[in-house]
Amino acid sequence: MKKILIIDDESQILLLSSNRLRVNGYAVITASSGEQGLEKAKKEMPDLILLDQVMLGMDGGEVLDHLKKDPLTKLIPVLMFTADVKEVKVGEAQKRGAADCLFKPFSSEELLDKVKEVLNKKP
C-alpha cells in the first residue's frame, strides 16, 4: 500500500482529502503545519507528499525547499496545491522541485488522477 503524507493547515481540507485517499486504498498520514510536515516526512518516508502552497508560518515553498535539500527526502515526489493563477506558479513550483501542481478548487477525481499519475511517474 502506497503511503501519502498530506501537509495543509486547513484541518477540514486535510480531513476530506485524507478520507478520500484512504477509501481509494492509500495509507495516509497528515500534518497541519510545515514544521510538522518536515518531521513526519523524515520519520515516515512516504511515497508521495501533498503540500499546500499557502500556509501560516512556514509556507509550501519553504517546505519544498527543505525537502529538496535534505538527501533523505529529496527523492520523494511532491504534489503542490495552489489557488494561484495557473501557468506562472506551475513553472515556479516545478523549478523548485515539485513533481506537479493541483489547482484549487479541485475535485476528488482530479486529486486521485494526479496522485496516481505522480506515483506512476516515480522511477
Partner: protein, 517 residues
C-alpha cells in the same frame, strides 16, 4: 472633445472676410493670444480638457491652462519639452505608432496613456490625437486629453474586490463540495436513494457556484487588463474541428447534428489557442443548449484580412429586445426553469473580451424560433505583421522588469539555391517543421519561435544575452540533429545569431532593422 475642426482650416491660405476675422479675434483675445500666432486659444483656454500641440518629432509648441495645471509645468518650460517627456516610457512606443498613423492619413485616433507631471506624478489620460496642416503639408499634431485617473482607480478597486472575494470563496466551496460528494458516494455509510437525489441537487448547484466564481475571476482579470495572451500561430480549422469533436456526444444525445463548413481546409492564424478554444466552447455549448431540433453549423471563411467564424443554430433564438444586452455581464434570457444545464450569464461577456483582446470583433444575430448566429472576426497577419505583433508583446513583457528581450535569429544559408534544388514547397515545409521543432524545444510559455520567409526568429523575453547564447547552442544542436536525419535536407545549413533589446536596439523599428539587415 476633439480639437475644433474649424481651427485647422484657418491657415493663412484661406482668407475669410475681414469683418468675420476681426470678430473672431475679439472673441479670442480676452482668453489669450490672437489667432494665427498660437494654436491654443479661445475655447481651448476655457476647457478642463488638457490640450497640447506638438511637432511631428515631439517638440511641444503650445498647451492650454488645463494642461499646465494638471502636469505642473509653466509656459516657459515649453521650448525645452518634448511630448515624450510627458508620456510614460511604457506608452511611448504606442504613442509613436499612433502619431505616425495620424500623420500619414490625417484620421484622428483615440489614445490612452499615462502622463507624467513635472513632479513625477502619474496621470491616466484618454483622448484623441489629430493633425494640423500648414500649406497642405502635415505641420503639427494636437492631442486633447482628459484625466481618467480616478475612474481607472475605481475600476482597479472593483477588480481587486472581485478577485479577493472569489479567492476567499474557493476554499469553503471546496469543503462543501467534497464533503457532500463523500456522503453522496457513501464513503461514510449507506445513503437511501431519495437522499441521494437531494445531495445531487446540492452538488449541481455548488458546481454552478464554482463556475460563477471562476468566470467572475476571468471577467475581473479581463477588465483589469491582467490577461496576457500567449499567441502562437495555429490552424483555426484544426482548432475548430477539435472543439466540435468534443461536443459530438452531447449533440448525439439531443439528436442534433454538428455541421462543419470550412473554406479553405487550413487557415493559419495568430492566436492564443486556449482562449479561442474557450470562446468556441462557449458558443457551441450555447447553440446546443438552446436548440432542440435541427443542427449546429460551424463556418470558417477568409474575408479581406480577417478570418470569419460563425456558429449558427436552428434553435429558439433570442428576442429582438434582448439582443442588445447579449454581451452584458449576467444577462440571461429565454432560459428554461428547473435544474440542470444552467449558465452563469458571464460567458458571452468573456467571449467578447477575449475576442477584443485579439483585436477582433464579435456579434450576435438572431431570429426568434428560427435560430441564432454568433460571428467573430479575427485579424489575419502576414509573417512580418505577425512577428511585429509578437515582438511588441515580448517587449511589453520585459518592460519595467530590468531584464532584456533576446532574439535569436536562425538564418537559412543559400536559401535561393536551396529552393532551386529542393523546390519551393519542400523548403517551405522544412522551415515550418524547423519552427515546430524549435517551439517544442522551448521551455517557457512566453518563449516563441516564428518563421519568416528564410529565417526563424526565437523571442526570449526576460533573457540575458548569455542565456540566449546557451539556448542558441542547445537549439542549434537539435536542428542539426533533425537536418542530419534526412538525406534530402543534408545540404541545409543554419546560422544563428542573437540580438538583445534594449542594449542593441531601442525601438521596435530598430529591432526589425537589425533582424532583417
Amino acid at each position: 472633445m476633439t480639437i475644433n475642426p474649424k481651427m485647422k482650416k484657418r491657415s493663412p491660405k484661406q482668407p475669410r472676410s475681414k469683418k468675420k476675422a476681426a470678430r473672431l479675434r475679439r472673441l479670442a483675445e480676452p482668453y489669450g493670444k490672437p489667432f494665427g500666432e498660437k494654436q491654443c486659444h479661445g475655447f481651448c483656454r476655457l476647457t478642463s480638457d488638457m490640450i497640447q500641440v506638438f511637432k511631428v518629432e515631439g517638440a511641444l509648441l503650445d498647451a492650454n491652462p488645463a494642461w499646465y495645471q494638471a502636469l505642473g509645468y509653466k509656459e516657459k518650460d515649453i521650448p525645452q519639452l518634448s511630448v515624450f517627456n510627458v508620456i510614460h516610457p511604457r506608452d511611448r512606443k504606442e504613442a509613436e505608432d499612433v502619431f505616425i498613423a495620424v500623420l500619414r492619413d490625417g484620421k484622428p485616433r483615440k489614445f490612452q496613456a499615462t502622463f507624467i507631471g513635472k513632479s513625477g506624478k502619474e496621470l491616466k489620460v484618454e483622448g484623441a490625437v489629430s493633425r494640423f496642416l500648414h500649406q497642405g503639408r502635415p505641420f503639427a499634431l494636437s492631442g486633447v486629453f482628459h484625466d481618467v485617473t480616478r475612474y481607472k482607480h475605481y475600476d482597479q478597486l472593483k477588480g481587486e474586490f472581485i478577485s479577493t472575494v472569489s479567492h476567499e470563496l474557493r476554499t469553503p466551496l471546496t469543503v462543501i463540495r467534497e464533503g457532500i460528494s463523500q456522503i453522496r458516494d457513501e464513503l461514510l455509510g449507506p445513503v437511501p436513494d431519495n437522499q441521494k437525489a437531494f445531495l445531487d441537487m446540492v452538488l449541481q448547484n455548488s458546481d454552478r457556484l464554482g463556475r460563477i466564481i471562476e468566470e467572475l475571476l476571468d471577467v475581473s482579470r479581463l477588465e483589469g487588463g491582467q490577461v496576457n495572451l500567449h499567441r502562437r500561430r495555429c490552424d483555426l480549422v484544426e482548432v475548430a474541428r477539435e472543439v466540435a469533436k468534443d461536443f459530438k456526444p452531447i449533440a448525439q444525445r439531443k439528436k442534433l447534428e454538428i455541421l462543419a463548413d470550412f473554406m479553405p481546409d487550413a487557415i493559419e492564424i495568430y492566436i492564443d489557442r486556449d482562449k479561442i478554444v474557450q470562446v468556441l466552447n462557449h458558443l457551441i455549448h450555447n447553440a446546443l443548449k438552446f436548440t432542440d431540433k435541427g443542427h449546429i453549423k460551424i463556418h470558417l471563411r477568409i474575408r479581406e484580412g480577417f478570418v470569419e467564424c460563425k456558429v449558427s443554430d436552428t434553435g429558439k433564438g433570442i428576442a429582438a429586445k434582448d439582443l442588445p444586452h447579449a454581451f452584458q455581464n449576467f444577462s440571461q434570457f429565454e432560459r428554461m426553469a428547473g435544474p440542470g444545464d444552467r449558465g452563469t450569464g458571464l460567458g458571452l461577456s468573456i467571449c467578447k473580451k477575449l475576442i477584443e483582446l485579439h483585436h477582433g470583433r464579435i456579434k450576435i444575430e438572431s431570429v426568434p424560433s428560427k435560430g441564432t448566429t454568433a460571428t467573430f472576426l479575427l485579424p489575419q497577419y502576414n509573417h512580418r505583421e505577425y512577428f511585429k505583433a509578437a515582438i511588441r508583446e515580448a517587449i511589453g513583457r520585459c518592460e519595467g522588469k530590468e531584464s532584456p528581450l533576446s532574439v535569436i535569429i536562425f538564418d537559412i544559408l543559400d536559401f535561393e539555391a536551396l529552393e532551386k534544388k529542393l523546390g519551393v514547397r519542400y523548403v517551405e515545409r522544412i522551415v515550418l517543421k524547423m519552427e515546430k521543432i524549435i517551439n517544442e524545444a522551448l521551455r517557457r510559455v512566453v518563449d516563441v519561435a516564428i518563421k519568416d520567409a528564410k529565417a526563424i526568429m526565437v523571442l526570449l523575453p526576460e533573457t540575458s544575452r548569455e542565456s540566449a547564447f546557451t539556448a542558441l547552442g542547445r537549439i542549434s544542436q537539435i536542428l542539426e540533429d533533425y537536418l542530419a536525419r534526412d538525406q534530402k535536407t543534408l545540404g541545409i545549413e543554419v546560422h544563428g545569431n542573437v540580438v538583445c533589446f534594449p542594449q542593441e536596439a531601442k525601438t521596435l523599428e530598430e529591432i526589425l532593422d537589425r533582424i532583417y539587415s
